[in-house]
């Protein structure tokens, strides 16, 4: 955990101010990890810049000295994307947290990279507007991190993911230059769509410092429903039936029995513990359409054998149900010391098969698993409940993950739907995208960042 040499520290302090350069172990150890279990790295120095200009200066200094930079926001990532590498500068962007403007005429919001995701939606809400992407950590995560990871959320089926809402970016490049991509125009085909290269680049190509986001009119009505089932297949089939009926709800989330128990232990909102699957459904839009769609969804759920169907009485109860779902991952940590979360995604019609396969794999390797996720978009989160200190059990977890990845790819799926590759999934990337595609990604990285200074070792070696 050696700090950079004193001359570098002095220069960093001159750029961002003495109080914004952290070097003591008590200050830096808490920046050694993100939200990913069992991953941590050594931290020599943490720098907290206050402006794009300062970031540019820091990057220029790092480039001149050949020092790596690992950028982070609130550190809620789930693939180890912001875990520090040896000898790096940790660049923490939480001070740049301003929402700069809400433009109701052009339906855009401009914000600094460290603005909290939920705060952006709250600012839009004041103008009757809506920022739909809602990753599980939206109350904590920063928008810069969301863009860098191309985060998803609970509303993917109807509203898409972060990428679908990014109109423009300000980025500090690996040599310290500041570049701007995109604008407030809906149509813009001038040159390569460079912003799209940065979205989901996990901090390896540039440091996103400011974002211009698309927002949409806020739906006038919303209805939230909860259905419980004795068989997971019935929940999955309900989802297929709803989509076949030409309804696109904004949310179709499922929890399995293990997850239901953990969430209920935490939230205590009366979820039924004795069912095999819970389906959380939400529809939003024009009040008349919402009422009709909700009625149809309830009918379809009952027809597929839902044991019990509950409609949220009011906004408060709807929020309570959605928040409970958001807590699923962390709530699963109640059971065992270490929680290994996966993010595999398959085409929607293969989801029931995949959920059943996960349960089989857990049984085969004698592991505890809780599975939850986004039934509407095929994104599931099998979560192994284990103990990192038990190397024999951890070896079985890795075998199980291997089986799950193999099956996912056989079904035409992806190793990560919304968490990113980071450190956690880089072993499987080549298998998914193929040799040529993998090589092209690496060539782009090499051409762009020849010294390999930005987030080295993430996505690929």
């Amino acid at each position: 955990m050696s700090s950079p040499d004193p001359a570098v520290l002095a220069r960093l302090r001159a750029i961002v101010g003495v109080e914004n350069v952290l070097t003591s172990p008590e200050d830096t150890i808490p920046y050694g990890f993100d939200g990913t279990a069992a991953l941590k790295g050594p931290v020599g120095v943490v720098v907290l810049p206050g402006s794009t200009q300062e970031i540019s200066e820091v990057v220029k200094l790092a480039a001149a000295r050949g020092l790596a930079i690992v950028t982070r926001g609130s550190g809620t990532g789930l693939s180890g994307g912001s875990v520090p590498s040896a000898g790096c500068i940790v660049l923490c962007l939480t001070r740049l947290d301003k929402i700069l403007s809400v433009d109701a005429a052009n339906l855009t919001v401009r914000a600094q990279c460290g603005a909290i995701t939920a705060a952006i939606d709250a600012a839009a809400n004041k103008h009757g507007l809506f920022y739909p992407p809602d990753p599980g950590s939206m109350k904590i995560s920063t928008i810069g991190g969301n863009v860098a990871e191309n985060s998803g959320g609970l509303r993917g089926l109807k509203y898409g993911v972060t990428r679908d809402y990014v109109m423009g970016l300000e980025v500090v490049l690996p040599d310290g230059r500041i570049a701007h991509f995109g604008n407030a125009c809906v149509k813009d085909v001038a040159g390569y769509s460079m912003k799209d290269l940065f979205i989901g680049s996990e901090g390896t190509l540039g440091i996103i410092t400011e974002v211009l986001l698309k927002v949409v009119p806020r739906p006038a009505a919303r209805r939230t429903m909860l259905a419980s089932y004795d068989r997971m297949e019935d929940a999955a089939q309900t989802v297929s039936d709803i989509i076949a009926a030409k309804i696109i709800p904004c949310t179709l989330e499922f929890l399995d029995r293990m997850t239901i128990g953990c969430v209920e232990d935490y939230a205590k909102i009366g979820l039924p513990r004795d069912c095999e699957a819970l389906l959380l459904m939400e529809t939003d839009g024009h009040p008349a359409a919402v009422a009709e769609e909700a009625e149809q969804m309830l009918t379809l759920a009952r027809a597929r054998g839902a044991r019990d169907v509950r409609v949220a009485r009011d906004d408060a109860e709807a929020l309570q149900l959605a928040s409970a779902r958001r807590s699923a991952f962390s709530a699963l940590a109640r059971v065992r010391p270490t929680t290994i979360l996966e993010d595999v995604t398959v085409p929607r019609d293969k989801l029931a098969e995949m959920v059943a396969f996960v349960a089989e794999v857990a049984k085969k390797h004698k592991l505890l698993v809780g599975t939850f996720g986004h039934m509407g978009d095929g994104n599931l989160h099998p979560t192994f409940l284990t103990d990192e200190r038990n190397s024999e059990e951890m070896a079985r977890v890795h075998e199980a993950l291997e089986d799950i990845v193999t099956k996912t790819l056989a079904l035409g799926g992806t190793i990560t739907g919304e968490h990113g590759v980071g450190l956690a999934k880089k072993a499987w990337l080549r298998r998914q995208v193929g040799e040529n595609s993998h090589d092209l990604m690496r060539e782009i990285k090499r051409a762009w960042d020849p010294q390999n200074l930005l987030n080295p070792g993430k996505i690929f070696d």
Binding site: I29, S74, S330, T339
Partner: protein, 429 residues
């Protein structure tokens, strides 16, 4: 055996999977935006100490002391991390390593935690002396002629914060046993330390509310301190001694419930079984004790509290959650429901009602700056509600926010929910 992070069950540390859900709930993280001042940051430091990667250092000690111990992170944490246990262990280890101790801090520690709060009669005697000092006008006189400037720096800062000592303490207001007309339950009433010296009338109100609801109230005149101050400040052995004295005085098998009306004490009181788990004799008694321990609001609502027939006129009231009542004991709805029983009383919700007011045990003494910032934030919200009364149920919050309201020149009065209910019962006659 000395308390130590290394000896602690490691899975309690591992329970934190550093997802960050605690960050927006933590007042010190929100104030500073630095990870070390967040719950998961502090846990990572504790884990580094347990792993031998970090030595116990003055900076580590400072960080443990900078934490409010408000436990808002425990409410926010889906993984159920036992932060309170971790913090107490870390503080105890800091304490036994002799870190963060200046001569004066050691002196005051010895006087208060090891002296006064171990000896209830001595505490009352000192309380009486303070009362005399305040009553005889000496306080005003000393302040006027600048005599308080002769006090050592620490005391000089605290002198104006010293609460007004009550004219009568609990034993002068409550008989050892008081019986209702029709007895349904037999309960013990804990009178507390600060509550007894400053708010003995609230203990009387608590007894009245219990009597009005068919409870026979047992209130021994001399009661030990519950030990929460000791446990929260790294004095685990003293906390155990006090817990045993408490159990001896109130054998749990003899009561339907043991009632506390102080949020901070209550959260400690209901965890005696964890504190005494290694004690062969007291462990089973402590388990029974924990099952009988009730916050007054919790007990009243559990047994269908009688709605008063008379009200207190049109009264707009807002409610501040004491941290250890809401985050520690999870008693959040009951005080509000109890207030709503009073005819004519309108309850308006306080923004950030469960955000710490900065009192936090002795935090306002150890970390005055951060404490003051939180107080200003709290008082701003209270005034914004337009209520004429702020209700809260913990003596620490009561004193702190009352001082803040005074400083802000606000006429809002501060009362506890049981006081309002007791007054409504009295208005029936």
């Amino acid at each position: 055996m000395k308390p130590s992070l290394k000896l602690l069950d490691y899975s309690i540390l591992q329970q934190c999977m550093h997802c960050g859900m605690c960050l927006p709930a933590c007042p010190t993280y929100v104030a500073t935006n630095k990870e070390r001042h967040s719950p998961r940051g502090r846990i990572s430091l504790m884990r580094a100490v347990a792993d031998g990667e970090l030595k116990l250092s003055p900076a580590f000690a400072d960080e443990m002391s900078y934490c409010l111990g408000c436990l808002a992170c425990q409410t926010a944490c889906p993984a159920g991390v036992d932060y309170s246990n971790l913090l107490e262990t870390a503080r105890a280890e800091v304490q036994s390593a002799g870190l963060n101790q200046t001569f004066t801090s050691r002196f005051w520690r010895t006087v208060t935690i090891r002296g006064l709060f171990m000896r209830p009669r001595l505490l009352r005697f000192v309380g009486r002396l303070l009362w005399l000092y305040q009553r005889l006008g000496l306080q005003t006189a000393f302040r006027k002629i600048g005599l308080t400037k002769l006090l050592p720096k620490d005391l000089r800062r605290l002198e104006p914060q010293c609460p007004t000592i009550a004219t009568k303490f609990s034993p002068q207001l409550i008989r050892p046993v008081e019986s209702p007309a029709k007895k349904n339950h037999r309960v013990a009433l804990l009178t507390g330390c600060v509550q007894d010296l400053v708010f003995a009338d609230i203990n009387r109100d608590t007894a009245d509310v219990l009597l009005a609801n068919g409870c026979e109230v047992h209130t021994p005149p001399v009661q030990p301190c519950c030990g929460s101050l000791h446990a929260h400040n790294g004095e685990a052995n003293a906390a155990k001694t006090l817990a045993k004295r408490m159990i001896d005085l109130f054998p749990p098998s003899q009561f339907d419930a043991i009632i506390t009306n102080s949020g901070g004490c209550g959260n400690h009181l209901r965890h005696y079984s964890a504190l005494l788990a290694d004690d062969a004799v007291y462990a089973p008694l402590a388990k029974l004790w924990d099952s009988k321990l009730r916050d007054i609001h919790e007990w009243m609502m559990e047994h269908g509290c009688r709605a008063p027939q008379a009200g207190l006129g049109d009264l707009t009231v807002t409610y501040h959650d004491s941290c250890h009542l809401t985050h520690g004991q999870k008693v959040t709805k009951q005080p509000r429901d109890l207030l709503k029983l009073i005819p004519g009383l309108k309850l308006v919700e306080l923004p950030e009602a469960n955000w710490c007011c900065g009192s936090a045990g002795i935090y306002n003494i150890t970390q005055p700056e951060q404490s003051e910032q939180l107080l200003v934030r709290k008082v701003g919200h209270v005034i914004g509600t337009g209520a004429s009364v702020l209700a809260t149920a913990n003596p620490g919050c009561h004193l702190q926010i009352a001082r803040g309201l005074r400083q802000a020149g606000s006429p809002i009065s501060l009362l506890q929910p049981v006081t309002l209910l007791a007054r409504a019962y009295r208005a029936e006659r």
